[in-house]
Symmetry: C2
Subunit: 401 residues, 2 copies
């Protein structure tokens, strides 16, 4: 191993700063009339237009996608999307890490620009989940858990998260009311987001009385099956202002790993992958959790938001439920969480989620988030989990000035 001084020498002193100069996303939902490639292109072209760029200026495309092979019988989708976007000659790479595919694709795009290997990089995420039946879509989600040690024995994706919820309730006194409040808040935020799949408020009783999926998680504790895409354009920060009046800087990135199976972990309601990712991202950005003004966190289930706001350091372990109930994660409270509506209510096109989060963070940092705008944010954090937490990625974004 190199010495620690050497270890980050180039990262700290020589890597280029990277900015996001364009964002675009489709509406999320059951989009029967749009194919995966159409969704990918729509988001990509919106992002390029936002950056004032044309396709022939793109040097590299990264595509985050979880399971096009199983969902639409199509592998090799990065060149497919490049081709149909009219930039077939551009090198393109698909990145997959379960539902963290989008966030981890963004990290690869960052690396391409930060290293100096490319200048203009588009990172898109796209998923088309409604071309298969709902049960099949759920089985495909389960294929991001360990097939040989978990799902083959009957564990479903939601049941693995339900065990985390049950343990959190037992150990920390987290209540079904607190879980429900995550859904209520995120639906309330989604009501202010024109791209959301479920742009409407719901009442807590509605969540608590919904049909049970895997105890204690009911139907409204679960994010939906969604179609959708999102995209960002990256360039070296030194040139960002020539493309967009309000660029956003990527201040820190951290990626973490953990055991694949839930049963291997010592504490099933702490995601070590998220803790590891957050630690690196904070360190690289030179800030801590208190400096973050808002965050988009991975709320595939209500319990996941509660665990994540603890693992990211916003609240002590065990206090996430209470904090949520007290309104501390509402817009313009202590730390606004999932102002977009989150996976829960904005939608969950799995491989695109990390980019949907990036789009929201950029809009917030530009102060272009309309009714759901956070008050003058300086730092925003986005957090994307793969599977049941074997992979996790955190990006910290910073307003331009």
């Amino acid at each position: 191993m190199l010495s620690s001084e050497k270890r980050y020498l180039l990262e700290v002193s020589d890597l280029r700063d990277v900015a996001i100069i364009g964002v675009g996303e489709t509406r999320l939902g059951e989009l029967w009339d749009k194919s995966l490639r159409e969704l990918g292109i729509e988001a990509g072209l919106k992002a390029l237009k936002d950056a004032g760029l044309k396709g022939d200026e793109v040097e590299k495309l990264y595509v985050g996608n979880m399971s096009a092979g199983k969902l639409i019988d199509q592998e090799h989708i990065a060149p497919l999307i490049a081709d149909y976007a009219g930039i077939s000659e551009v090198p393109s790479t698909r990145v997959e890490s379960g539902s963290a595919s989008g966030g981890i694709a963004l990290a690869e795009g960052f690396k391409a620009v930060a290293s100096g290997m490319e200048d203009i990089v588009v990172v898109g995420g796209a998923e088309k989940m409604t071309d298969v039946g709902e049960q099949e879509a759920k089985d495909i989600l389960s294929s991001t858990a360990d097939q040989e040690w978990e799902t083959v024995f009957g564990a479903t994706f939601v049941s693995l998260y339900a065990m985390m919820a049950r343990y959190h309730m037992e150990k920390y006194g987290t209540t079904k009311d607190q879980l429900a409040q995550v859904a209520v808040k995120n639906h309330s935020n989604a009501a202010k987001n024109p791209n959301a799949q479920f742009p409407r408020e719901i009442k807590k009783e509605f969540v608590k009385n919904a049909p049970m999926v895997a105890d204690p998680l009911g139907m409204f504790d679960c994010a939906p099956i969604s179609d959708g895409a999102a995209s960002v354009v990256l360039c070296p920060a030194e040139r960002a202002e020539s493309f967009h009046g309000k660029p956003v800087k990527i201040a820190g990135i951290g990626q973490g790993g953990d055991y694949m199976s839930v049963h291997e972990r010592k504490h099933i309601c702490t995601m070590k992958a998220t803790e590891r990712a957050a630690k690196k991202a904070y360190s690289r950005a030179g800030i801590g959790p208190r400096d973050i003004d808002f965050a988009e966190v991975h709320d595939n289930y209500t319990i996941t938001e509660i665990m994540s706001i603890e693992d990211l350091g916003f609240f002590k372990k065990g206090e996430g439920g209470k904090a949520t109930e007290e309104g501390k994660t509402d817009i313009n409270s202590h730390i606004p969480i999932n102002t977009s509506g989150g996976l829960k209510a904005k939608g969950r096109p799995v491989g695109a989620v990390g980019l949907n989060q990036a789009v929201e963070a950029v809009l917030q940092l530009r102060e272009d988030a309309g009714e759901r705008q956070v008050n003058e944010p300086r730092y925003g954090l986005i957090h994307n989990i793969g599977g049941t937490g074997a992979s996790s990625i955190v990006h910290i974004l910073k307003r331009w000035s």
Copy 2:
């Protein structure tokens, strides 16, 4: 766009040189008793041992895999392999680009080290293809072509390549004898490779008289369905000698794209993606095709090797068949091609192929290739194609001194 001086400023002057300090691979074949994770781990541990490293020194893992979702019902395989290798905390990322997944994963690993973001990176490729029936495996290969415009109308993967072969024969006078000679040569090389799936020589008449798959490609013009894995360890070149006595330098990388569907291309027996990739790789290495001493090229079908040795600049377009027939691609002739046996006879675990090629190139440049050793090679080129040529990646490797 930045000016051209600026464009590669960091790449040429500031990016770190990257070396391969360890390689490992499994035997290729129908490995009924080994699962995907076992194959991935076997190759990875061999590569680490070769580099004299332990798992806890690995900072990042990239995994090239084409279709574990469809082949073994498992997505999210990068953290799965990290976990079962005993390094669950290490961030891991899967890269997919059809059968170029392995090569493109290697390019991402290169970027991670060259940028200074990580020092010790393992890049592995693994595929388990024989857990499904042969027809299903072939359908999965077809999912790397355009499902909406090609395979849905009945085009199979091999039939798309057969059209290229037919056109090459019509336009350039390439013969079935010349196609067959590719198979004969690669089987002859594989006979000297203990990891090869088919380590035995075959006669030209045998290839020509084999059952037809898609005219003019018979069964022995086609690479097999294979299980297998391969892995390399990367580090900054300046530290390479402290890990291995004979490191190998990555001198140049180029990735190219093209139209997804064969019918979109103007010349179906030229792969623009390969031409684009090769041009960049040669430029970055500061050399040309004449400087290359041997190459591993993507011979999923015999015609593909002939097209590729033309697209890579070793022979003029249309002359690849004749050159092969004249023995110019034999070991220790003009330009030895696929000394390992290639996809054709060493085997084709699709997502691992690019890493299998890297392993062979490193062994050759170390002069550790045994009976199939090329005479004192200085530069080796490896070339990996995704699908029917919508993505392509070229790496140029250089001996240490």
